[in-house]
């Protein structure tokens, strides 16, 4: 028996987190903060997964959430490696400046 707010409320929070994370990715220029915003988005997704798992009473959502967590960790690892490499080359830490893949 679920006490407290219904699942819908949790989903609302998850949606908000997702949106705010998207805003962060789009607006911020420091790649570190972009990565952080990305984390927020992922967490929003996780929350939604857990909520639905609880709603359906089955464990797939939680397993999925754990997998997402692992993937997020890996992605942060690689992303931070990139940031370190950029910094080592004395390039500006600004996604607007890092535009060599221009068409």
């Amino acid at each position: 028996m679920l006490l407290g707010p219904g699942i819908a409320w949790y989903l609302g929070i998850a949606a908000f987190l997702f949106g705010i994370g998207a805003l962060g990715v789009l607006v911020r220029r420091n790649p570190l903060i972009v990565l952080l915003s990305l984390e927020i988005m992922l967490n929003g997704g996780n929350l939604a997964l857990i909520a639905f798992a609880r709603h359906a009473g089955n464990g797939a959502g939680q397993i999925f959430a754990l997998a997402v967590m692992a993937v997020a960790a890996s992605e942060v690892c690689v992303g931070l490696g990139l940031v370190v490499a950029i910094n080592r080359r004395r390039l500006a830490l600004d996604v607007d400046e890092l535009s060599e893949l221009r068409g």
Binding site: A15, G19, L23, G24, L26, L32, V71, C77, G81
Partner: protein, 180 residues
């Protein structure tokens, strides 16, 4: 469930409000601070509040993993790099909103609304009543059993992803040979 029936709906509501508010506030904080150090700290707060919400949803193991892995390992890594890179401040909100900011806000806002609308339209009625769950729901033993039976593939693939990330991290972190 840890927070048993004895605690009652009221307490759960209170905890939910606090944790939810903390979650939202820290999310906004992450996006808006100019100093990345503070953003990272805000994220740690966000992760913590999320862990509380997970607990409310009977996902104990996930909550524990969130705190240990995410807030513990990943964020520490973040803080290491932020410290290594040094102080960098940008002022994203200076000079008024540019067209890019407005566009971004619109896009993000529309995503948010769409998710609400979609879920509301499609599953509005059904979300009222959740299933009853058994006692071992969300416990580590239960998760473990699921990992090794129904979702073995996900488990194995996740391990490969972690391996790849580790290799990538090492490559990116190694000193590149200078040409010439």
């Amino acid at each position: 469930m840890i927070l048993g029936v004895s605690a009652g709906g009221g307490l759960v509501w209170a905890i939910w409000v606090i944790a939810g508010f903390a979650c939202l506030a820290s999310g906004v904080a992450v996006v808006s601070f100019s100093n990345p150090f503070f953003s990272a700290l805000a994220l740690i707060g966000n992760l913590g509040s999320l862990a509380v919400l997970y607990l409310l949803l009977s996902a104990e193991f996930v909550a524990a993993a969130q705190v240990l892995v995410y807030a513990g390992a990943v964020m520490v890594m973040f803080l290491f790099v932020i410290a290594y890179v040094g102080p960098r401040t940008e002022t994203p909100w200076a000079g008024g909103p540019s067209w890019q900011t407005i566009g971004a806000a619109l896009a993000a806002g529309s995503i948010f609304l769409e998710i609400i609308v979609a879920i509301g339209l499609k599953a509005g009625g059904r979300l009222k009543h959740s299933e009853q769950v058994h006692g071992s729901y969300g416990t580590p033993a239960w998760i473990g059993r699921l990992f090794l039976t129904d979702h073995l593939l996900a488990f194995e693939i996740t391990s490969i992803v972690l391996l790849v990330a580790a290799v990538g991290g090492v490559i990116l972190g190694s000193h590149a040979k200078r040409a010439g």
